[in-house]
Amino acid sequence: MKVELTVNGKEITADVEDRMLLVHFLRDVADLTATNIGCETTSCGACTVLLDGESVKSCTMLAAQADGQSVTTLEGLAADGHMHAVQEAFHQEHGLQCGFCTPGMVMAIVSLLKENPSPTEAEVRTGLEGNICRCTGYHNIVRAALAAAEAGK
């Protein structure tokens, strides 16, 4: 079937299998490989992207369901050569190690801070319950989210 998506501001039209997942559309059709697949069961959040500004897990959504909508991936966050505040906070706070969960974590936090620009630590931790990281123990990811919130004030 034919789908038409705007990905990081660029319109992409493609003829895809009905069952194609959004994450495979992003990775294989749009050739944007930052978004990773970590579990296929909506549990780990590695595939988190923004769909019309809201965070979704792209491994359990069909490309067809995103037809006509706008997707933002990690690659679309930085502007004019400057990292987004959340990306910069991850760098400053050592919020990433192996980097595999990072694209999903960053997108989840962008979405979280949009909904709640001044979260408490507990709110950040609850908000990230659907994103799994095995390297950082979440400590510095939480610091990064709080630092990005502070920077956004």
Partner: protein, 774 residues
Amino acid sequence: MSILGTRVIRTEDPRLLTAGGVYVDDLREPELAGAVRATFVRATVAHALITGIDKSEALAQPGVVAVLTAADMTDLPASEPPGGEVPGPDEPPAEGPVPLGGKWAEPLLAVDRVRFVGEPVAIVLTDSTYQGEDAAELVSVDYDVLPAVTTIDGALTGDSLLFPDTGTNVCVKGGRDISDDSVFDGCDVVVEGDIVNQRVACLPMEGRATAAAFKDGKLTVWASTQNAQLARLIFTAIGLPPDAIRVVAPDVGGGFGAKIGVDREQIVVAWAAKHTGRPVRWVETRNENLMAMTQGRAQLHHIKIGGDRDGKIKAYRLDVIQDAGAFPRMSGFLPMLTNLMAPGVYDIPAVQADYKVVVTNTAPIAAYRGAGRPEAAATIERAVDWFAAAAGLDPAEVRKVNFIKPDQFPFVTKAGAPYDTGEYEAALEKVLGAADYASLRADQQRRREAGETKQLGLGLASYVEITAADGGAGETAKVEVHDDGTATLYTGSSAHGQGHHTAFAMILQSETGIPMDKIEVIHGDTDLVPDGVGTYASRSLQLGGSAVHKAAIEVKEEAARNAAALFEAAEADVVLDADTGTWHIAGDPDKSLTWAQVAEHADGGLIVANVRFTADRPTFPFGTHLSVVEVDTETGKVTLLRHITADDAGPVLNPVLMEGQRHGGIAQGAAQALCEEVLYDADGNPLTSTLADYAAITAAELPSFELLTSETPTPVNPLGVKGIGEAGTIGSTPAVHNAVIDAVSHLGVRHIDMPMTPERVWTAISEAQKASAK
């Protein structure tokens, strides 16, 4: 001033944060153009004979390039048992980290028998991923089902044998004689019991992944691995010499021990590329990962501990049974380490430890963050708490009475471990002070007296572990200084999140004054770094970093000769200002040469040092963790309130990286104590084969951690450093474990096995109440 010891944020990050890493699935190398996708057909039963495989329906599907089974692998060389002659069950064991071969050998694809659910039976090659999933379902495998062995007890009965030719399910026995009970004579207090160290998933966020291309007699493999060089040796199994194989480790999304070398599926992928002439890519699903990647721990311990009423421990016995899963991948190596570290930080006059290893119809067990040492620490720390409770003493006091004292180092324990340096009591005191232990105990007492629903628990763990146990293998480093003043640093160590590029460049800058931003670090490509050992066993900084240090010194010696010639001075008069990276004649700071000028004068415009650093003995990092938990006695729910640690791995090169390693380790260790466990049903069906079922710990279940600094150098290497990658895991599991039990001990609970889920905690409280009502 040296950059070492300062908070340098990672140079690796900007790329990972803006474009994402390049993991195996992201590779767009020209050699992989048109690569077919590999999908494995996996055993759906835990134990069975294969009576037939029908590929015809699968082969008729669109996009199917090939369906290959063990019967198609006729072009492989005859395999030698990798560990040489295999000892029988009653002979002394092979104690290296090698798979047992011979009668216990693990085939690449199942031949006539499957031994765990998820074991690979066939490989399906298709044009696309979705086609692979469709076709793999249509490969029909007929099984003659056998009774499954799913527990250690079941394995020991020998009623059903995984390897009938061996006549037993016990593949290795080792350790020392533990039958002499007289060591407990004269002990006022003796405690005995079983402790389960449950099976957990290693769960790197990127699962296993491999791409391979075979062209003009040369195989190139991109593998998600912790050591490309070892992987290259393993890939020779497909019948190619090492020099016909290039292994590249691109970005690797976590390893935690499960990516040391490569697994059988990855060898099959490489073979399939050679066999079909088509490039092949395999990226496992999480479901496959949770069924068939090696898992960790899986030990059953029986202990006995005895001592005086004043708290002095006089004897300790540890009897370990290791569940190896379906194939003894690591022989007796893991429980051997558990035996070696059995007495932990304590000066115990009599220590007895032994082990046996059994096979079961479950996923194979191998290294997982700590690999044999967390099991030792978890049990001695529980045993000390048991002993303290029986003696009516505070667990902190019992630890102090029994610690090996600073003036006793170097100290060889009764288990045979040669500890280098330690300040065990100082680490404990730091933690007790920072936590305000006395106030916490007072709060606990108040809650107990008030009979509050939410009870407070304090758990201590003072640990020591062994890192870089294979220091003799060492690590390689090559430094090239170019005539434009830049440097290239090649390391045999292999980063997968640890921050080697930042850490190793810091060492080189510190020694040479060449700024980090002019240093390129290269690892994980056997064409560029043919000789290397890799990253595991918390060895990278102490061996790989020391190799960088050694190479930096050699490159300076070579540069000094060139600088002397340019200055027309004696070599002894030439000095390097490591702050500015400039060469001078001693006493004449005005006249200087840059590294670029010195390199320009060298042969080929290049100054090179190529070294291997080896250590003659391992190092023993240590520390204390204190966990503070709240337990809801009505629901059994545990809340981890605080986790305070002093982890001592010698001088800290970069606090940012060191803290990151500790954070991750603490979380993984706490996860074992609280929630994570791989489970099978009685038929050997995995019950935790998705992340919807496996309870991986999340941010919502953890607090921020409180880290204290403690730096006791080791004389074993020039940097004075020990390993920190696994220490957090080793300390945190028993601290959390002890804390939860401490919270409910006044209700009569003596022990709760991990993971301490609400159900388990609630049940333990209920049973204790029932027992006390009798």
